[in-house]
Structure formats: structure tokens, C-alpha cells
Symmetry: D2
């Protein structure tokens, strides 16, 4: 992975973590929380693994590709759930998730 690709991934992970946490927070304040339950669950899963991988990359982990592969799976699942909902925080989160999933797959390959 080139230095540029690595920087691109770190930024994508960071934006995805932030978007997932904002979506988590906003979902808990929605009128229909029940409809958002799966979104809340996946936002947390996705924020946590993105956060984990970002720090692992920063310390030059020997397991970057294995972790990126899992992270891509989680980002994809979270993006698919978020894009079902019209809330702006969900749509923004879905976009960040799909972008991050793609960057992760490049590293995992």
C-alpha cells in the first residue's frame, strides 16, 4: 500500500467512525427509536472497528490487511442498514461507510 493509499484509508476510517457515532447519538433522539434499533447496533459495531483499525494503522500493526478485511464487512453492513433510513444522519453515515469499506478492501487485497 502506498503512503497516499494509507493516508486515504486513515481519513476514511476517521470520517466513518465520526459519522457512525453521530448517527448513533441522533438515532437515540429520534421519535421512532424502535425503527432505528438495527442502525444503532451497527453504528456501534462500525464505529468501534474503524476506531480500532485507525489506531492499529497508526502504530504500524502487522495485521493491517486482516483487520481491514473485517472492517470492510462491518462498514458494508452498517452502510446497507443506514441507507434504508431517510434521516440525514443515516444517509451521511451510509456514504461514509461505503467509502470506508472501499478503502478497506483496497488494503485487504
Amino acid at each position: 500500500m502506498s503512503h497516499e493509499q494509507r493516508q486515504e484509508l486513515i481519513q476514511a476510517l476517521h470520517q466513518c467512525m465520526a459519522a457512525c457515532n453521530q448517527c448513533f447519538d441522533a438515532c437515540l433522539k429520534e421519535d421512532d427509536v424502535k425503527m432505528m434499533a438495527e442502525c444503532i447496533r451497527l453504528d456501534r459495531e462500525c464505529a468501534d472497528i474503524c476506531n480500532f483499525l485507525e489506531q492499529a494503522l497508526a502504530r504500524n500493526t502487522p495485521f493491517a490487511s486482516e483487520l481491514a478485511s473485517v472492517c470492510a464487512t462491518v462498514c458494508e453492513a452498517c452502510g446497507n442498514e443506514c441507507k434504508k433510513h431517510d434521516h440525514e444522519h443515516c444517509q451521511q453515515c451510509a456514504e461514509a461507510c461505503f467509502k470506508c469499506a472501499e478503502a478497506c478492501r483496497k488494503l485487504a487485497a
Copy 2:
């Protein structure tokens, strides 16, 4: 802190982390998720800081008392929210939170 107190704290942190995560998972499956929104939020806060402190203690962190003081505050808040709800997972979580808060305060003192 004696070795026994430290082991007691590690066990309390571990049980509190597990109870908060189980309560988080169960709250998301309840019929009235909206009523559980604050519980879901605090379960995550509490699970994360307990998990953090447990690992920090395992590596002999120099910041044990500062972290334990924050952890006590979070456990207390989570316990107070959980005890409002009759679900068994909430009542069990409240109990684990209060026990952990007390163990944290002993270390923080």
C-alpha cells in the same frame, strides 16, 4: 490497594462490562425501544470505560486512580438509569453498576 482489592475491582469491572453489553443488546430488542434510549446510551458509555479500565489495570497503568474516579461516575449514572426499568436485564445491570462504582471509589480514594 491490596492485591485482593485489585482482584475484586477487576472482577467487578468485568461483570459490569458484561452486564452493560447484555443490557444494551436486550434493550435494542425490547418493544418500547424509545423508553430505553438513555439506558442504551449509558450502557455503552459504561461498558466502554469499564473495559478500558480493566485492561489498563492489567497493564499496571500509572493512572489507575484517575481512571477509577471517572469510571465510578459513569457506573453510578448507568446504574441509576437502569434501576428505573423493570426488565430483568436492567435490574441485573444496575446491580453490577453499583457494585463496580463502589469498587472503583475504593481505588480512587
Copy 3:
């Protein structure tokens, strides 16, 4: 995965996290820290992913098998490094790592 296998895995993850953190702490106090550099690095990698997976299992993560697969790889690598060193903390850590790797592989399968 049966309830018993899940409990066995959670315990293995917990003991591995604790052993890796104790080994990390002890390695940093050894006379020849340079010889322990890779052990220190892998102890952190392994403690962090075990800790992550343990909390993920407690919240009933949908990504248990993917995470367990990565965790098995990290535990195996950490165990292989630790077993090269005669220090008691390294030997104990190696044992916890191999046991955890095996439990992770059962779940990942």
C-alpha cells in the same frame, strides 16, 4: 456455537488479554528490553483484539466469526513470539495465546 463454547471463548479471551498486558508490563521492566521489542509490540496487538472481541461477544455482535478469525491469527503470532523467551511471563502468555487461538478458531469455523 453452544453456550458452553461461547463461555469457554470469553474466558480464554479474558485470560489472554490479562496475560498479554502482564507480559507487556513485565517486558518493559526487563534488563534487555531490546530483545523483547517484538514481544512488547505483539502483546499490545493481542491484548487489544482480545479485549475488543470479548466486548463484542458480550453485546452479541453479528460479526463474531469474522472477528474471531482475525483474533486467532493475532494470538498465534503473539504466542509464537512469546514462547521464544524464557521469562515466566512470556511462557504463561504463550500458553494463554495458544489456548485463545484455538477457542477463536472453533468459533470462526
Copy 4:
């Protein structure tokens, strides 16, 4: 805390987490690892709490000021250790730590 102060803090936490992880990685590759042992230990403490707080802020944690107070203490300690060493990664880390400690203290106040 204003939106600008919050954004400034999030950026400071992020840069500090990255600098601490890079310093951790670089210290483990130095010739005299023993001299860097305390730096390695504090780099990890500091990276972990910065990473934790950054994610907590992103999800709008109710415990921002308590966490920022602990984080300031850890950043200050890590900065003080790092500035003792002439390596460029240590000097850069010290700078990131002190900047982050200051941003944390503003929030904690």
C-alpha cells in the same frame, strides 16, 4: 464549549493519538529500547485515552469533562517523558501531547 473549541479538541486528540502510536512504533525500533521503556509505556496509555475520548466526544458523551480531565493528566505525563528524548518522533509526540493536554483542560474546566 463552543463548536470551534470542540473541533479543536477533536483534532488535538486525533493528532496526539497518531503521534503517540508513531512514537511507540519508532521507540521499539531504536537501538537503545531500554532507555525508551517509560516512553513506550506512556505512549500506549496516552494513545488509548485520546482515542477513547475522541470517540466518546463523537457520540456526544455525557462525561466529556470528566474524561477530558483524566486525558489532560495522561497527555501531560506522556509529553514530559517524551521531551526528555532527542529522537524526532519523541519531540513531535511531546508537542502533540502538550497541545492536547491544553485543549483537554479547556473542556474539563
